[in-house]
């Protein structure tokens, strides 16, 4: 068979062909762009790339539709809703106490903030306040939770930027916090520990000592993070000037939390609208003035140190006392205790209601199945979650179940800034921009 390339037909840029005795043979080859498309087509090339919802660097089930020209993003559209679980609707069909168990599953990296925000709203509707010890423990566990959340933010940030040791280190340190939270609440995540009126139970024996040990270890670990990442030239090059958003942009788009503080505005609800006695704690609000992913990284690192300071102060001021309001019409009747398999009813309590007091059994039954009534009205309670303003708009019609619970989740609001942060930049910076927002899709989609 004589093979000649003389009659090669290059008119099809993707598959040139020539005649052989066996018939027409096509050769699919590569080639330079200017040969295949011509130089003039290069500038007009518009590529729509669908990134996610299953993509390792979009922080969960987030979908981005990117219009690209070369590597430049001309348009970024964000599609959410893949993790919508109807939690807000579900709370309307459960008692006020059961609501805690639902809301804790929204922003799963900051479960205690969801619980605290919800419980503060219910308490405001009820007109009750948790006892001082409960308030201090709430601050304590919330700041532990903030450290865990920021460590995940750093870990995933590292992973998405290609600094995989940052990821393994971040998750390793977070595990220490989760061990503490497991010891205190019985669960690593989704604790349902903060309840309307106080806490599910007091700190177990030994928890304070273990938290103090953690406080000894953690500052060195933060310093290790700085050694590992902060001075690293690649890390700096990837983060600096990526995802730029200034204060005006943040406020217009409703962005709060570390992103707003990295733009230079020291807006932290723990300082400006204190709750749970935050005004009595001594801590700083770290800010940066770079408005970019680099500043957000630095702010989060500094906030870990501030949280350590708050935890130490909270431990020092722990006084013995009740951790639940004394009103038996609100306080959960069961004496919960922490067993080897998590939190449950204490055996003494079960003996009491089953064998000794009929009235206690009736009271238990009424409060557990029917629940308490909350006076009609509506409140909005904002707290500072690791991602920004977490607001609970809770409406009661005077019944035993919430009429409406709406959650202003910071991930939901902050993600709106994606387009403003990434359009006109390179596609690699989109990853940095989203990672620096630290969205949690469980909270975003609810």
């Amino acid at each position: 068979m004589s093979t000649t390339y003389q009659d090669y037909d290059p008119s099809d840029p993707y598959a040139g062909s020539y005649e052989t005795t066996e018939g027409r043979v096509y050769t699919v080859t590569g080639g330079d762009w200017d040969q295949t498309l011509g130089t003039e087509a290069y500038g007009e090339e518009r590529l729509v790339v669908n990134m996610g919802p299953q993509h390792p660097s979009t922080h969960g089930v987030l979908r981005l539709v990117l219009d690209l020209e070369g590597e430049t993003v001309t348009k970024a559209r964000v599609v959410i809703g893949y993790l919508h679980t109807g939690i807000e609707k579900n709370t309307e069909y459960r008692t006020w106490t059961q609501g805690t168990t639902f809301v804790t599953r929204m922003d799963y990296l900051a479960p205690l903030y969801n619980e605290a925000g919800y419980c503060l709203a219910v308490e405001k509707l009820l007109g009750v306040e948790a006892p001082p010890r409960a308030q201090t423990i709430r601050v304590l566990v919330m700041e532990l939770n903030r450290i865990a959340s920021h460590l995940v933010a750093l870990a995933t940030f590292g992973m998405e930027m290609g600094a995989l040791t940052g990821m393994t280190n971040g998750f390793r340190e977070r595990e220490m916090v989760l061990d503490l939270l497991e010891e205190i609440t019985g669960l690593r995540m989704n604790h349902a520990y903060i309840r309307p009126g106080g806490l599910a139970q007091d700190l177990p024996e030994g928890a304070v000592e273990h938290i103090r040990e953690f406080l000894q270890v953690m500052p060195d670990r933060v310093a290790d993070f700085h050694k590992l990442l902060t001075g690293q030239p690649i890390w700096q090059a990837r983060l600096k000037d990526a995802g730029y958003l200034d204060v005006t942009g943040c406020v217009a788009l409703g962005v709060t939390g570390p992103v707003l503080r990295a733009a230079g505005l020291p807006w932290d609800l723990r300082k400006v609208e204190p709750y749970l006695g935050y005004e009595t704690y001594d801590f700083e609000v770290p800010t940066a003035d770079t408005c970019d992913a680099w500043g957000r990284y630095l702010v989060r690192m500094a906030e870990v140190n501030e949280s350590l300071k708050i935890i130490e102060q909270a431990l020092d001021r722990l006084e013995p006392g009740p951790v639940m309001v004394q009103d038996k019409k609100i306080a959960w009747p069961a004496q919960l205790s922490l067993g080897p398999d998590g939190m449950g009813n204490s055996t003494e309590y079960v003996k009491h209601i089953m064998g000794q007091s009929m009235e206690a059994l009736i009271h238990h039954f009424k409060l557990v199945t029917e629940g308490f009534r909350v006076p009609a009205g509506q409140v909005y309670v904002p707290i500072e979650s690791p991602r920004g303003e977490l607001g609970y708009h809770v409406v009661s019609d005077g019944g035993t179940r919430p009429w409406r619970v709406h959650v202003r989740d910071p991930s939901f609001v902050n993600l709106q800034a994606t387009a403003a942060m990434s359009e006109g930049g390179m596609i690699a910076d989109v990853i940095a921009a989203i990672a620096s927002l630290d969205p949690v899709m469980g909270g975003c989609d609810r």
Partner: protein, 245 residues
């Protein structure tokens, strides 16, 4: 005017004396023969529905009067009187019930006026007051409420605006021109409650799939489900199951 949350069909302006309450029958709030608790004939008068129908009298106390005066001055007293139907101060929070025709000039003034400076729109959401605490809704009652939470970062104040519309004519002007952050909030409110925000750049569903039918967080949205047989007993679907109210 028919006030938001008015369940009795009376003029809301005359109902200012006391929040009208509904009544409930039985321990479980079911009708028919489902209530086997022995309390089926019990009639309970409830202390009030979800929406109080009265208005708070001046002075409101604290900075509430200052903001209200500044707002009236910024938009003009005539516009203010037409726009703000009622003002309610409850649990240290102030709520302005606003007529939808006047929403936009009001939020524009709230954001831009030097004495107001509500720069941040924290949240926009909906509430469906279908039959809260009383008899079922009548057509034409403004049961869908859109709730705006505005924050003044300058003065560290928060206020709430509430716009009530009927399910038959659920149109509210979009505030995205004043607060760009309201974009997704309004999409979510449309998605969940079916409130149409006129002037929104792209009012599409955001959490539910694009081809979804209905608006899930409306109170009359069917929950679905089938009766389940378990150990010779039949468990009805969630929204027909008996429960405490």
């Amino acid at each position: 005017m028919t006030g938001p949350g008015d369940r009795s069909g009376q003029d809301a302006g005359q109902g200012a004396a006391a929040p009208s309450g509904g009544f409930r029958k039985g321990a479980f709030g079911v009708s028919g023969s489902g209530d086997t608790s022995g309390f089926g004939g019990l009639v309970r008068v409830e202390p009030g529905g979800a929406v109080a129908l009265h208005s708070t009298d001046r002075p409101y106390g604290g900075w509430f009067d200052e903001v209200t005066d500044a707002l009236a001055e910024a938009v003009g007293q005539a516009t203010y009187d037409a726009a703000v139907q009622r003002v309610l101060v409850d649990r240290g929070e102030i709520t302005y019930f606003v007529a939808r025709e006047h929403l936009l000039p009001l939020v524009q003034a709230l954001r831009d006026d030097e004495a107001l400076r509500f720069e941040l729109c924290s949240s926009v959401s909906g509430v469906d007051y279908l039959d809260s605490g009383g008899p079922a809704a009548t057509a034409g009652r403004p049961r869908l409420h859109v709730v705006y939470h505005l924050t003044s970062m300058t003065y560290r104040r928060r206020i709430r605006l509430e716009v009530a519309v009927t399910a038959e004519d659920p149109h509210v002007p979009s505030v995205t021109g004043v607060y760009p952050t309201a974009d997704w909030h309004e999409r979510e409110t449309y998605d969940m409650f079916g409130v149409v925000f006129d002037g929104h750049p792209a009012l599409t569903r955001i959490l539910m799939p694009d081809d979804w039918d209905g608006h899930p967080q409306r109170k009359d949205y069917p929950l679905g489900g089938v009766p389940v047989e378990y150990h010779d007993a039949t468990i009805p679907p969630p929204d027909t199951r008996r429960s405490y109210r």
